[in-house]
């Protein structure tokens, strides 16, 4: 298929997938909307939908909602990192779902370093975040080495590890690290110099972590598309026997991509911690890992599209939370919308009939162009 038609197909397909997701969302909003009559319900659900889609960016008066916009950008930070982590692991066909536990562990380790290590100035946040990333990278050795050496499913292992991480961290919090002077389980406050500065200080917690995320995106893209190892990772996902027979170390690639993924997830947790909080108080898995999977699917496992996908997901999350406060539709609608988008985006055969038509059309165009060219040559 020609490049133009191929692009056209991707766009049509993306729009169709989003359209279906919005239609499902509207249906669910309609069911849950208040109102006695059909008309009242319809108008209520339309206003709820408007809350979700427009209000994140524009106030009721039509003015640009800068605070909400900052919230959306700030919300991108953790899911950019889990999205990148998932991109790199999924690109090699390693269905490691451990970004969820990874981001929690990274946040925890970073928090501990930020509380207890008396390092000077900007050295502390750097060390703390790297420590968080490193810890998760090491933990990810478990599923990856088991997969590479014994063929144990990395998916089941990483899922199990999410639960193990959560409970062990909760145990450590309850038994050793909690600040007993507080009513809820939380650690002592981070050292002042650990906290990441804000880009815009308006309470959105839009920290410089966002810029680190963008840098990470660029580095990951370069790694995946401009280095030998990145090529190896992508090729392993496309055709593993080919990589093996061309002499690359497949087990090492399998381990490498998951360790890198773990490092990114851990870093994301650390940055989220130091950018948004003053102390650690997570007691359950935060869900960023799952959103990260959606981000990776939307980005087609290409790091460069991760910011766009993360912005989109963050926008929807913000929209859903606005809708739940203003229109009485539960915010968990986001999970259903996410799943629907996800299913249609990952569907290879979705709109395959249309794709077939485009393929035929571009083949015919090519043939016509060729015939014309050869006709001109014979004329001359």
């Amino acid at each position: 298929m020609s490049k133009k038609n191929s692009l056209k197909f991707s766009i049509v397909r993306a729009v169709a997938a989003l359209g279906i997701a919005l239609a499902v969302a509207f249906l669910l909003i309609f069911v849950s909307a208040d109102g006695a009559t059909f008309g009242a319900k319809l108008s209520n659900s339309l206003s709820a939908l408007q809350q979700m889609l427009v209000r994140p960016l524009f106030k009721k008066s039509g003015k640009f909602a800068s605070k909400n916009f900052c919230d959306i950008l700030a919300g991108m930070i953790p899911i950019m990192f889990t999205g990148l982590a998932t991109c790199i692991m999924f690109a090699a066909n390693q269905f490691n779902l451990g970004a969820e536990g990874g981001i929690m562990l990274g946040a925890f380790i970073t928090a501990v370093v930020a509380i207890y290590c008396p390092l000077p100035g900007p050295l502390l946040p750097i060390v703390a975040i790297l420590a968080g990333g490193l810890a998760v990278a090491i933990v990810m050795l478990i599923p990856s080495v088991l997969k590479a050496k014994l063929g144990v499913s990395e998916m089941v292992n990483s899922l199990m590890m999410n639960y193990v991480i959560m409970y062990i961290l909760n145990f450590l919090m309850n038994s050793y690290l909690a600040d007993r002077s507080k009513g809820i389980t939380q650690t002592y406050a981070f050292r002042k110099n650990a906290i990441l500065p804000q880009i815009i200080d308006n309470g959105s917690r839009f920290s410089w972590g966002w810029a680190i995320g963008i840098i990470a995106v660029i580095v990951c893209w370069f790694f995946m598309y401009r280095t030998r190892w990145g090529y190896g990772i992508r090729m392993t996902g496309i055709n593993q026997p080919f990589v093996m027979y061309s002499g690359m170390n497949v087990p090492l690639i399998i381990i490498l991509c998951q360790v890198i993924g773990g490092f990114l997830a851990g870093m994301g947790g650390g940055i989220e911690m130091l950018g948004r909080y003053e102390y650690y108080n997570w007691s359950a898995l935060p869900g960023y890992g799952w959103t990260g999977i959606t981000v990776a699917i939307l980005a087609g496992n290409n790091p460069i599209f991760v910011p766009l996908a993360a912005f989109f997901m963050s926008y929807l999350t913000k929209g859903c939370s606005l809708m739940s406060t203003n229109a009485n539709v539960p915010a968990q609608l986001i999970d259903i919308i996410q799943a629907v988008i996800f299913l249609f985006f990952a569907a290879q055969q979705f709109l395959s009939g249309y794709r077939q038509k485009l393929v035929i059309k571009s083949a015919q165009e090519e043939l016509a162009a060729k015939a014309k060219a050869s006709g001109e040559r014979s004329d001359a």
Partner: protein
Amino acid sequence: MNIFTTAFFFSIFRIATPILLATLAAVIGEKGGVSNIGLEGIMMMSALFGSLTAYWTGQWWVGVLCAMAVGCLEALMMGFFAFRLKTDIILTGTAVNMIGSGGTLFLVKVITNATEGKSFASTTGLITKIHQIPSWNIPLIKDIPVIGKVISGHSILTYIAFLLVWLTAVLLYKTPLGLNIRSVGENPNAASSVGVSVDKIRFITIGIGGVLAGLGGAYMSMYYAMGWSLDMVAGRGFIALAAQSMGGGEPLGSMFAALIFGFAQALGIKVSATGVDSNLVAPIPYIVTILALIVFALIQRSNEKRRHERALS
């Protein structure tokens, strides 16, 4: 303190039942070449609708039937995406699990808001003793000392689950459908070349899995716990996948694997009763899963090695 009381062994079966039901779903799925990681989400969804219908109708068995139907429907929907639209089956399963986590909470809030006039975040307040799946004291056996106390008095679904182990084996090895399922799992091209409709068999496979997972969900919300609450299945659908591979993909072996998980968890509950932090005890089943997978892989590997050596000598 004596841990190994009759009550302890009784609890193994009680805990293992939902895992066993999901494990059977995984066994049939893997035999048919369908690795269904959405079992977790299917269990959540059917647990929710099972408990709600039981509450609405006041009949536990209507709830169980509804849970089965919901499980089947959701599994078929997965099948539609995976087999027709060619979404990767693992991603399809992940999406189902997403819906099973946050999506169920959305649904329960919306539904209770519509029917009860107030949105609940769980159905634990609605389900009472009368909606519970009844338990069965087996005549004669219940009077046998020790054994009677362990195997009598379980929920009906527990007995059905163990009966289903046998039925699954019969289905897979003694029926034409089972042969088709296995052949599609083994080599879909070969199966299709002799006129088996691969897609149809896959839909049947995943559908049966959905029904079994639905039963597991019903057990969770209508017997194990009273009512549905967020993330109540807590990874049992995933543990089932591990039990399936530990049991070598065979119904009987997987049953023992499921019982091992039941044992691990029952032991954990006992230990936490002695005052150990529950956060240390709760991860035990998950750690056992990882260890069990490793041990199973090592055994399989050494078997293979021995086979190769024998072939060479």
